[in-house]
Structure formats: C-alpha cells, structure tokens
C-alpha cells in the first residue's frame, strides 16, 4: 500500500500461538492518521487476538509493530496506553466497584500538588463525556449499576481519556442501541478530524459501511485483504471472510437422511432473560439440528436454559409431554444432556481421574449414597474409553494429563453412557484437533442412530453444514432464519449470521 510517514501504526506479519493453536499466522495491518479502518473476519479468524496483542493483553510471538515509524515492543497494557494506543474492550475493562467518573480515569487519575486525586478535574472530564456521548449515568454512580449499553460508552470515554493516537474498538457497539451508535460515531468523527485513528471491529456491516473507509480482513489468522469500502460490496467482504465464491456452491455433503420423523423436542416461544426472545424450534427423533450465529447472539443462553442452568419462560415439549426444566440435574433425569465447548469452566474436572470424569453424571444422580466400587467404575470407564478411542495412560490418571481433544471425548463419553433423548452441544469441538473432532462427530452421528436427537451449536460454519440437517440462525437474541435443503450453504449462512440478508432480518422466513 502507499508508504510514507503518515502511518500511525504499521503491523507486519504478526504471529501468536496459544499452545498448539495458531491464532495469528501472518497478520498485517497499517493505518494512517485520521483513518477509520474496519477489522473484519469470521469467528475464530484471530481479530480479537490481533487487537489484544496491540493492547498488550497478549504478547506477540513474532512479527513487527511500528508506531509512527518506530518499533514498539508491547509488554503490557501500560506500554500501549502510554504510547497512545487505547482499547475499548468487547467484554469491557471497567471496575464494577468504582464510580463512573473513577472508571474513566482509572490508573491515570489527575493528581493535585498535595498528592491527592483532583476530583474536580476528574468530574469535569466525566461530565463532558457524559454530555458528548449521551451516556445515561451520573459520574458518581457505581459502575456495576449501569446497564450494558451505557457501560460500553463509558468504556470508550475511558479509552479516550489519555488522548490516544489510536483507538481500537473491539465489537463494543454490539450491545448498543442504534441511536447511541449514531451519536458515538458523530463524536468520534470529530475526534478523527483532530487526528485520531480508529480500528473498528464489528460484525454489523451497516456500521462498518457507515463508519469506516477501509477494511482489513482476517481469515484463519492471516490478513487476506485490504480494501477500500467505497468500492467493495458486502458480498465481496463475505467472500474474503469465508474464502468462498457466491457462485460455486458445493452441495455434495448436504446431509443424508432428511428425517421427517416424529417430534422429539418442541420449544415454543421461549424467552431467556434478556438474551433470547421468542425462540421456537423443532427437533425430530434422531435428527441433528444446527444452531448458528455470531458469538453472543443468545444461542449459548438458549441452550443453557434448555439444560436448566438459566431460568426461562415458554413451553418445552419432550416426546409429547409438556415439561418444565428446573435444574441441570432435573434436565439429565428427563433425558437432556449438555456438552460445552468451554471445557475448563463447564466440562472437565481437570484434577480428577479420567474414570470419574466419565461417570460423573451417573454418580451425581444416584439417589442413595451407595458405595462406589472403584474397580467397577474403572472397568466401565475403560470400556467407554475404548469405544471413544481415548488416548490416556489409564483410567486413573487425572484428566488434565490428556490433550484437549481427548478431554472432550471424556465428556462425550458421559452421555454415551447415559444415553439422553436430546443432547445439546455448545461448540463442542472448540480448540479440539482435527482428528478428535472427526472422531467426536462420527461418534455423535452413531448415537443418533439409536434415536437420540442433537441440537448442535457451533462457531465453525463448515462443521455445522456438514453435521446438521437443518440450521437455525440466531441474530440478536432471535431466530431470524431456518436454513435447510438448498438454502443450507455456506454463503447464505455467513450472510444470514452477519445480518446482511435483508429479507431474513425483516421477519422469520
């Protein structure tokens, strides 16, 4: 691209690995003074890692970062902030226990001569930003009592406090209302005139076209395109993000048995707090139904509500009977299983033995504290391990001595043993190597042959298209489309997920 000294930031060949996972392989991006650049990519393309390297949360493993022509070695957020790189985090960096004003200046409070905090100038800044951005909050209110959209605005006011040269906005607008976003953009445009540069990460194409002039697209950790938005269509962006042409649709692996079988699970107009609204789905016996959506569109909460972990209202019909699910243990008794992709938090007991990890659903549901026979448990566990092809030193070793893929197999093994009627999967193959991934998926497929139904949510579109017969697409807490048959292809799926598909957004089907 055009050289010269007007670049505020120039990143070349950035590399970042998390263990065996290559989050960033070769990511480059350069941005000029006063430029607003979009950073786009599908789920897992490395956008978040990229911006977190710039903000100092993650340390780079290779590549170069040049700020105003000088190599910058970012070792912690302090380096970034002090060199004028500010970040508004997607999951926010606010301190719940401090007030709105205190949060805006945290770490860099204005100090009076006697060493105390200059409250007046702190409040001045807070009031100014509250006014400019239309934040609905008072400076002295504790931040934990503010709602999410206003917290996002506070996060931006905080990022701007040190007068940065570069502002990175990581999907921060996702929780905001339309008018809030408009006002924010208007204000930021003024700042851009004053020399601020912005890297804007968002999944909302309207916002990207409205706000940004250029775009860098990441795919699988590699920057694949650098475009001017004025002469690129959304289809082109989607093409670069997914690497698939709109024309050449591959239909060969559309799923086999399209079952018009009896209903197994019916959900009617289910609401899950503020996360998901009016969700109605149908799952047939032995059917694999997919759930797609960008991160945080309510699909995770929906699945957890079905498993009794979050309260909900609405109707659930399982095998013709109306049921109410009170808790996860209730769900398991009624024949519903759940596998989370977040093994550490919601899956594995990492320091406990492999056998215990497989048999936990069984032991947890025993009514009477009958003595457990260690030998019998081991035998059962060993049998399941054989079926699952788990690579482990034995049934007695702790689960954390296994690879991620093998740990996930243990969790699948729990349900292999339990044989639920419906198995809910929330990104079950996240961070799992290709081999284990295929093994897990073929195993699940086998389980459906005995009549088990699967509700499969995944951030990997290709996987979803492969395994699911129909796909419900979640967008902002609603199902905006059901894709099946011819419509079940990666282009339409990607477009629907991003909310680009106008027809789908206006109403369900």
């Amino acid at each position: 691209m055009d050289g010269g000294g007007t670049h505020v930031l120039k990143v070349t060949g950035l590399v970042k690995n998390f263990g065996a996972v290559h989050a960033l392989k070769d990511a480059s991006l350069s941005i000029e003074i006063g430029e607003i650049r979009a950073l786009l990519g599908a789920n897992g393309s490395g956008k978040s890692t990229f911006v977190k390297v710039l903000s100092g949360i993650n340390k780079k493993d290779g590549g170069s970062i040049q700020l105003e022509g000088k190599e910058l070695n970012i070792t912690s957020p302090i380096t970034s902030i002090q060199n004028g790189i500010a970040m508004a985090y997607q999951d926010l960096s606010l301190i719940p226990r401090l007030s709105v004003a205190e949060n805006m200046v945290i770490g860099y409070e204005p100090i009076k001569k006697n060493g105390t905090i200059d409250r007046k100038s702190m409040l001045n800044y807070a009031e100014k930003m509250i006014e400019e951005l239309g934040i609905r909050a008072y400076p002295d209110v504790m931040t934990e009592n503010i709602d999410l959209s206003n917290k996002g605005l506070i996060e931006i006011a905080k990022a701007l406090y040190m007068n940065p040269k570069l502002l990175i906005m990581d999907e921060i607008t996702a929780s905001m209302h339309h008018d809030q976003v408009e006002r924010l953009f208007a204000y930021l445009r003024k700042r851009v005139m004053g020399g601020l540069s912005i890297i804007f990460v968002s999944h909302r194409f309207e916002e990207v076209y409205d706000f940004c002039t250029t775009a860098t697209i990441l795919r699988e950790g590699i920057s694949v395109a650098d475009l001017k938005l004025l002469n690129s269509t959304p289809d082109e962006l989607v093409y670069h993000m997914t690497g698939k042409k709109t024309a050449g649709i591959q239909h060969e692996n559309v799923s086999n048995e399209v079952s018009d079988s009896e209903a197994r699970l019916l959900v009617d107009q289910m609401n899950v707090l503020s996360f998901a609204k009016n969700i109605s789905i149908y799952v047939g016996k032995g059917e694999v139904v997919g759930i797609a959506g960008l991160q945080g569109q309510g699909q995770g909460e929906f699945l957890r509500a079905l498993f009794g972990a979050i309260s909900y209202n609405g109707n659930i019909v399982l095998d013709g009977a109306n049921i109410r699910i009170k808790s996860p243990s209730d769900a398991i008794r009624k024949g519903i299983g759940f596998i989370s992709g977040d093994r550490e938090k919601e899956g594995i007991f990492s320091t406990r033995a492999v056998s215990e990890n497989i048999l936990i659903t069984e032991t947890a549901l025993r009514k009477l504290p009958i003595m457990l026979s260690v030998r019998k448990e081991r035998e059962k566990a060993e049998q399941i391990m054989k079926e699952l092809n788990v690579v482990a030193a034995g049934a007695g070793v702790p689960a954390n001595s296994l690879s991620g893929g093998n740990q996930q197999k243990l969790i699948v093994g729990r349900w292999l043993y339990r044989k639920p009627k419906v198995l809910l999967l929330d990104d079950p193959t996240k961070g799992v190597d290709v081999n284990s991934r295929n093994e897990i998926n073929s195993l699940l497929k086998n389980m459906t042959k005995t009549g088990m139904s699967i509700l499969y949510s995944s951030s990997d579109n290709e996987e979803l298209l492969r395994v699911a017969e129909r796909i419900y697409v979640f967008y902002e807490g609603k199902i905006i489309k059901e894709l099946k048959g011819k419509d079940k292809n990666s282009e339409l799926l990607a477009a629907t997920m991003l909310g680009v598909d106008k027809e789908a957004k206006d109403g369900k089907e």
Partner: protein, 343 residues
C-alpha cells in the same frame, strides 16, 4: 438486566449489615446493662479493650479490598508486642525507639507477604498462613515467656481520658480519619480496582503487582499499630494473645460487608461497625452471665460457655451480613446466572 438506576447510589447499602447488627447489639446491651453502658468508664473501657480489634479490622479491610486475605495479622500484632516489650525491657531502649523498630518489623512482614503473593503468585491464604506460623516462632524466640512491662504513663493514658473523652475514642477517631483520607489518593482506587477485577485493572494499565505489595504492606503497618495498642492495653508482653485477632478481623470486615461493591469510605464504616459489633456482643454475654451469677449465687458457669454463646452470635452475625449483601446484589440485578454457571 437491572435498569439504569440514575437516582440512587446504592453504595450506602454496603456497610449497612454492620450498622443494623451493631444497633441491635447495642440495644440488647442497654437492656441488660442499663444506661450504665454509656458511662465514660464503662464505655471507655469497652473501646480501649477493643481498639486492637478495630485496628486489626482496618488492616484486614485494606487487604480484603485488594482481593486478598491476611491470616498473619494476629501474629504480626504478637510479634510487634514482643519486639516492643523486649527492646524496651531487656535492652533498655527508649519507648519511642523500641516501638518504632517494632512497627518497622511488622510492616516488613506485610511487605514480605505482598512480595510473595504478587510476584510468586502463591495464594494469599497459604502465604499469610505460613507467615503467621513463621512469625509466631520468631516472636517466641524474642519473648519465650510472657512478661515485661510498659511505663505506667502509657497504659494509664491509654485506658484513661484526654479532655474528658476516653483516649480510645481519640485514637479511633484519628485512625478512622486517616483511613478515610486514604480514599483521596490514587492508591485506594488501584487497590479497589485490583480487588474488584484484577483482569480489568491490568487492562486499564494499573500496576497490579505493585499495588498488591502496597496493600499488604499497608495492612502490615496498620496491624503493627494494632499490636502497639495491644501492648498499651495489656501493659506487658505475651505472644499468645495475638493469634485470635486474624479471624476476628476477618469476621469484623465480613459483618461490615465487603462482599458487595461500594466506596472506600463505606468499607471503613463497615469495618468499624463490624468490630464494634463483636465488641458489644462479648460485652452483652459478659453482663448476661454476670446477672445470672448475682441473681443465683452459688451457680457456677464456666467461662467456656461465654465464649460458646458469643461465638454463636458471631456466626449468626456473619450469616446475616452475607445474606444482606446477597439481597443487595439481587436487587441491582447482578445475579444473572443461576448457580454461577458461566455464560
């Protein structure tokens, strides 16, 4: 998701569990003891004998605000007591010098705690527990047997009055004001920040390790003063009396309410009301047993029963403080995920 509460700043509700419990305890105390409770001598002696606890609670509050815990506070007090007594009695140092050295040593223990916790990333519970055992050993080497004394003027003044007001009240006032003034400094915000969300504090450019070290050091400093007030109160050295203060200080801070979110000052008020609650409870129990003994002469009640009863009340206080905090949280709609399942 909670509505944006623009009008109310619910931070006042943080220390409220402490106030409510304290008020209840004081009322019961008046019922039992009569208005003699407010006489300068009885009120003064209640406060002077509990000043060490109040200061220990302040020390614990600072550490707990930073997201940690300090089990060694009680033994820091014991070490300070032993050093202050031995240096003055066995080595003939002036009180000023021996007490300053004692405070420096106590603060040093806090510093060491902080360094290990922040840079070696060992859990605070383990570090301070090990430290407690270690410095108890040191204190026993310094002062193997209880003994020694402090000049009369010190303990007379400590338990007496200045300008007609009990000295203990002056000391409580001074320490409380100093602690409240801390909230005007950047350090207090950094401590609150790392205790509230360490990851976000890191992302905000706060020096997390340095702040942790400072929090434990400050805790050690305040605990050292608690040790000095214990020395003035008992007018002698005894390594065994310090130990119980660690858990009592945690109880006091918890009863005052640190679990929620709130301003620095509300935590200070919470800590003092929590420790006064503990003080008044033992006062109540003491007087209740006194009444029994005077009305039924010949009745023998072991003091173990006093401890048993007052600790039972403390458990009740802790439980209700935690419950009140939880209710506050539910009101502000924070408890979104049932049973802490990650979303």
């Amino acid at each position: 998701m909670g509505k944006n509460s623009l009008k109310h700043n619910p931070s006042w509700s943080v220390g409220i569990s402490g106030y409510v419990l304290l008020l209840g305890a004081v009322l019961i105390n008046i019922l039992i003891q009569g208005f003699g409770f407010f006489r300068v001598t009885s009120f003064g002696s209640l406060l002077s004998s509990n000043l060490p606890l109040i200061l220990a609670a302040y020390a614990q509050m600072i550490v707990m605000l930073s997201g940690g815990i300090d089990i060694s506070i009680g033994n820091i007090m014991a070490l300070v007591n032993a050093v202050a007594i031995v240096l003055a009695n066995a080595y003939g140092m002036p009180i000023g010098v021996s007490w300053t050295i004692a405070v420096a040593i106590g603060t040093g223990v806090g510093l060491l705690n902080g360094l290990i916790i922040a840079y070696l990333r060992v859990p605070p519970l383990l570090v301070t527990f090990a430290m407690a055992t270690f410095i108890k050993g040191v204190a026993l080497v310094v002062l193997p047997k209880p003994g020694g004394t402090v000049p009369k003027v010190i303990y007379r003044t400590y338990t007496g009055t200045i300008l007609g007001v009990p000295t203990a009240i002056w000391l409580i006032l001074i320490s409380t004001v100093i602690l409240l003034l801390l909230s005007k400094f950047k350090l207090s915000k950094s401590i609150s920040a790392i205790g509230s969300s360490e990851r976000n504090a890191f992302a905000s450019g706060i020096k997390v390790e340095k702040t942790k070290v400072l929090a434990y050091t400050l805790g050690g400093l305040v605990a050292s003063f608690a040790g000095l007030s214990l020395t003035a109160l008992t007018a002698s050295g005894d390594v065994r009396i310090g130990g119980a203060f660690a858990l009592q200080s945690i109880a006091a801070v918890t009863i005052g309410g640190t679990l929620g979110a709130g301003k620095w000052s509300s935590y200070v008020y919470g800590a003092i009301s929590g420790s006064l609650f503990l003080a008044v409870v033992s006062n109540i129990v003491f007087f209740a047993f006194n009444i029994l003994a005077t009305n039924y002469p010949g009745m023998q009640i072991s003091t173990y029963y006093q401890q048993l009863l007052s600790n039972f009340i403390i458990i009740f206080g802790l439980a209700s403080a935690v419950l009140m905090d939880r209710q506050n949280h539910q009101k502000t709609g924070k408890d979104k995920s049932k049973r802490g399942i990650a979303l």
